[in-house]
Amino acid sequence: MLNISLWGKTFKNPVVAASGTFGFSREYNEIYDVSILGGIVTKGLTLNKREGNEGIRCFETSSGMLNSVGLQNPGIDYFIENELPFMKTLNTIIIANLGGGSIEEYVQGAEKLDKSDVDIIELNISCPNVKEGGVNFGIKSNIAREVVKEVRRVVKKPLVVKLSPDAEDIVDMAVTCVEEGADGVSLVNTFKAMAIDIYKKRPVFKNVFAGLSGPAIKPIALRMVYEVSKAVNVPIMGIGGIKDYKDAIEFIMAGASLVQVGTANFINPFACRDIINGIENFLKEEGINSINEIIGVI
């Protein structure tokens, strides 16, 4: 009933844990058996280890949060050697989230991941938390085009591009990625945002900007998924503020084949599990035989 086949793989349900909110799945696996998930996206990985940002990394907002982690991760080699073997023991689809600061870095990282046992690569062209004078590849379609083209050249595995809601034109961005060979798109990443400490009279974050996630972004993320789904023919992973099965079903009806759940894991550690059960009950109650019947019905 919940099964979905995409990219030659079978997801047992449409619920996937979002990048950066689920680590490499060990921690949540101590709370419940995460093999029940449709899939798991790893923390954003880069070619080399990164320490991430210093100072405050989290600030709570109404119905959401800002984060400025800055892609802290142990590097792709370490991941393949020490984290992936554990993840592969889980009976679920493993998606590697690939970050980077330059096209060369992306390409070298992609080559390594393509040779590894991950099932799918999610190319993150949209992290707002890394500066280093580098370009944000997720804003202008013609810049994104270059990265996707080069990465596609070296990746044989299914390649999904994760889009930033800060893209100048999200529909054009999605179309561009698909033109360059993306097998799917996932959207959205966090929104570039900020907070100010009025007593210290300075921004809360050292980097000034941080990424907004959580229920606050849901209606905008939903609108973007809907618009993109009308414009591309590849599967979509819908992301943004999904906290219960109703939110998930909205994204699916708007055109997402899979949904990713991020911040909601912090609100309720069982969020993904509860959403899976909720979708199943909904389908039963509504007399719907398969989740595939409601994908993109709007």
Partner: protein, 241 residues
């Protein structure tokens, strides 16, 4: 680690804005470990971390200060209400390894986790607790010597607890409280080369080590307060200037 709904056995104001919350549940907890608590639905978005303050056969208890949205909601809890509890979390400390003379240095609500250390440590324990004005949370406190300071002079020494604390006599110091106090304790312990453990604090989201928002800077890079801590070796932590 488990995620459960626990029943409130007691939620009492023990001093102005300081509450003791007792929840029904059986847990194995090490001193320094904490739990993520949530007694609300949507707002605030994130659950809140609180250290284990005390524990009995059938309960765990917390000592908390009302600071903002989350603790205001906790303060409204009544007997029989339920709280969602994730834990125990964090490294905590292996008490069996602690020997000799130990000093616990706490400031304000930072005394909460130290109460449970005092209860568990079998060795000689001296306590140095500093408060702003009112003294709280020290009923049934187990120790050899108790030193209290208040900034107002209401009880004990008038001033900061670090004014009267000298690490020279001790084999080990454990501290928790405002950053300025912990920095001071770190400085004096460095002078006497006394081993020190710090209980660090940070804004948390997942509380279990998955999201990397709660990191603190250490000599070996950024570490997660919720998973690699909250107990860190004194020499490990790098305080920003």
């Amino acid at each position: 680690m488990q995620y459960s709904s626990l029943k409130v056995l007691e939620n009492r104001e023990v001093a102005k804005n300081i509450f003791k919350l007792k929840l029904e549940g059986k847990y194995n907890v090490k001193p320094g470990q904490f739990f993520m608590l949530r007694s609300w639905e949507d707002e605030p978005t994130l659950s809140r971390p609180f250290s284990i303050y005390d524990k009995g056969e059938n309960y765990i208890s917390f000592l908390y200060e009302v600071k903002g949205k989350g603790t205001e909601k906790l303060a409204k809890l009544k007997c029989q209400d339920t709280v969602k509890v994730l834990g125990p979390l964090g490294n905590g400390m292996d008490i069996s390894r602690i020997k000799g003379k130990v000093a616990l240095v706490g400031g304000g609500i930072g005394i909460a986790p130290l109460f449970y250390f005092a209860k568990k440590i079998e060795a000689h324990v001296d306590i140095y607790f500093g408060f702003r004005d009112e003294v709280y949370g020290i009923e049934n406190l187990k120790c050899k010597n108790l030193y209290i300071s208040t900034e107002s002079g209401k009880v004990g020494y008038k001033g900061y607890i670090t004014d009267i604390f000298n690490p020279f006599d001790y084999n080990l110091v454990i501290t928790c409280g405002p950053l300025a106090m912990m920095k001071k304790v770190k400085d004096v312990c460095k002078k006497t080369a006394t081993p020190l453990y710090l209980l660090m604090e940070s804004k948390m989201a997942c509380g279990i080590g998955a999201c990397l928002v709660c990191t603190c800077k250490t000599k070996d890079g950024m570490k997660r307060v919720c998973k690699d801590g909250p107990v860190f070796k004194g020499e490990e932590v790098v305080f920003d200037a």
